[in-house]
Amino acid sequence: MPEVILPIGPQHPALKEPVNFRVIVDGETIVGLELDVSYTHRGIEKAAEQRDFIRVVPLLERVCGICSHAHAQAFCTGIEEIMQLEVPPRAQYLRTIVAELERMHSHILWLGVAAHVVGFNTLFMWTWRDRETTQDILEEMTGNRMNYGMNEVGGVRRDLSPGQIRSILSRLPKLEEQIGKYVEMVKGEETMLLRFRGIGKLSKAEALRYGTVGPTARASGVDYDVRRDDPSIAYPEVPWKVVTDTNGDVYGRTLVRIGELQESLGIIRYCLEHLPEGQIYVPAPKVAPKAEILSRYEAPRGELAHFIRTNGTDKVDRIDIRTPTLANWTSVTVSLVNQNIADIPVIVAAIDPCLSCTSRITILSERGRRRGEMSWAQLVDHGQRFYREGGRS
């Protein structure tokens, strides 16, 4: 069978969001790949320049559905630093609780999607069933299951009553038990191990070179976690550790995410038990002084950076958002070449791509390892000719 271009997406059962891969396959092996992610650009950065600090927070929350709190938090902590606000500790703890609950639901969701991608639908059903617990807790805390609307400049918008704290604490042991089961399943389920081990491998040097962030980087042994490296909110006061792994493949990323689930549970429990008394909010001035700041936060998918510049008005002059998925795409295109087509969804899913918040694209650079005698340019030529002729095999 000669090389065939296999179009995957923009609408495809494996993909939850619009993305287009044009995979050039030789039999079952990928020899080349083009990605196109530009289907969901919404111009949020431009829109954010037109809104004041109260109204921009809900907008930024909607950059991404899963890590909505992360975006709002990166922005709020940045603006608070510019305004030099002292946010009360209770607000910081509440932010931490929501942030870690969000991380938990994101990682559980990822585990389910990864299992679904390798055809293990049972784990998918079970994880999504257990994810409901975190969603219920978030709904009770914030009033919404997604896009919580918890942050604002100066603090948080909702408080926790002692009754709610007790109710949340009582639900955590069940969740912990389920997470323990996942660890066992991921380490013991043969078909999943077959599909995860040695797939999409990135060495530590490669992970650093291609600028990976978050669990993808930590699975390759890169010891970066913004929560520790550039601490904000309540993280310096809470005992927790950064989870890293040395496998560097999809299996390692799974282990890192499950390890982080357990850490997050510990953080939530600590924060609930040691929730300081006091205000949850300090009134924020309407305008921010002229300044610029790079606000970083570890979103569930990796390091999130908001570059904010203010110009002495009640609106931001420029907000530049770098989402974790954008940083991880380069590594995906590199690690896909020479893999099996059956592994495309696994490798892509392993970085937990969030396309709406990325809405950006990459095309495989010339750095893709060359295979056989064909150069990359020849291969692209060949592929395009093929495509024009109808992609027949």
């Binding site: 296999l6 991608v117 390798v118 639908n121 389920e189 078909t191 599909r195 059956a342 969804p345």
Partner: protein
């Protein structure tokens, strides 16, 4: 058998009418058990039947440039092959069509749907379908050898090439599942692969190649292919039940013939259901493996296990005949 009785046998019971009803029931049970194991609710009883009727009524779309006649014929051929194979499976006592060598015919007929699936994939001129079709055939070459070897071992030991006679042999000597446990396990795994269920749903891996050869199937073609797979499930589990679990025959004789028939029929139902539960559990407990991994597993473990079984059978035969 009289022509009238034979007609009833083929058309009504335990022929095609029963076959379709039972195929839908097995499909329902399969889905229901899987759903409950995943803590879902699962479909209602008539869902598979409703799906079938609905799909029959849907518009048939011809992909551009496709050979319509071949595309129409392939599902029909596949279904006919699966239904014919079913006629040789003993259901209420031996099959009236039994002859020496019907085991080989059944194995051949059960391979036809896979070939039809490959043809459909290849004919539809869709890259997903082509890749899926190639995968289906590649998989055929991997699992077919151990599967056939495992299913032929009972014939070797019973000294007959007729499924009904093999079932009869077990009435006296005990089930082959106990005599040839490795063959039984390989047979179940091979059946799972033949039916393209997890962990062997490689040709129709939805997260990779949409639906593989099924991608361009619509309307009645899709309905017929689904029905083929369901009939294959009945025929395959019936075949395994006959070859390894003694089929519809009881280990002892029951005096009135009609009672024996009913008991045999119940045995058939019970045994196929047990096989279905095993297959459904396997489906729920595993993810999809890759084709190269299947290649490894198939040739390294399954094939060598069956060869081992062949050796054991030959040795046992030698001892038995020698003494």
């Amino acid at each position: 058998m009289e022509p009238l009785l034979l007609g009833i046998y083929i058309l009504l019971f335990p022929g095609f009418l029963f076959l379709f009803a039972y195929a839908f029931l097995l499909q329902y049970l399969d889905r229901k058990i899987a759903a409950r194991m995943q803590q879902r609710v699962g479909p209602p009883l008539l869902q598979p039947f409703a799906d079938f009727i609905k799909m029959l009524g849907k518009e048939v779309i011809d992909p551009a440039g496709v050979d319509r006649k071949a595309f129409d014929a392939a599902p029909v051929v596949a279904l006919a092959a699966a239904m014919t194979a079913y006629l040789y499976i003993p259901i209420v006592g031996g099959s009236p069509f039994a002859f020496q060598g019907d085991l080989v015919l059944v194995l051949y007929l059960l391979t036809l749907p896979t070939i039809a699936l490959f043809l459909l994939g290849w004919l539809s001129r869709n890259v997903f379908s082509s890749v899926g079709g190639v995968r289906a055939v590649t998989m055929l070459f991997i699992y077919e050898v151990p599967f056939f070897l495992a299913l032929l071992m009972p014939a070797l030991m019973a000294g007959s090439w007729s499924i009904s006679e093999i079932a009869l042999w077990q009435q006296e000597h005990g089930w082959f599942a106990l005599l040839q446990p490795i063959g039984f396990v390989v047979g179940l795994i091979g059946l799972q692969a033949k039916l393209e269920r997890q962990p062997f749903d490689i040709p129709e891996a939805e997260t990779e190649i949409v639906a593989g050869p099924w991608t361009e199937l619509t309307g009645r073609r899709l309905a017929l292919m689904h029905l083929t797979m369901q009939v294959m499930l009945v025929a395959g589990s019936g075949l395994i039940a006959a070859l390894f679990l003694g089929g519809p025959l009881l280990p002892w004789n029951i005096s009135p013939a009609w009672l024996a028939t009913i008991a045999g029929f119940l045995m058939f139902l019970g045994k196929t259901l047990v096989i279905l539960v095993i297959l459904a559990s396997l489906k729920v407990a595993t993810g999809r493996i890759r084709i190269d991994q299947l290649n490894d597993i198939g040739w390294k473990y399954l094939a060598s296990a069956t060869i081992l079984q062949v050796g054991i059978v030959l040795l046992m035969d030698y001892i038995r005949v020698g003494t």
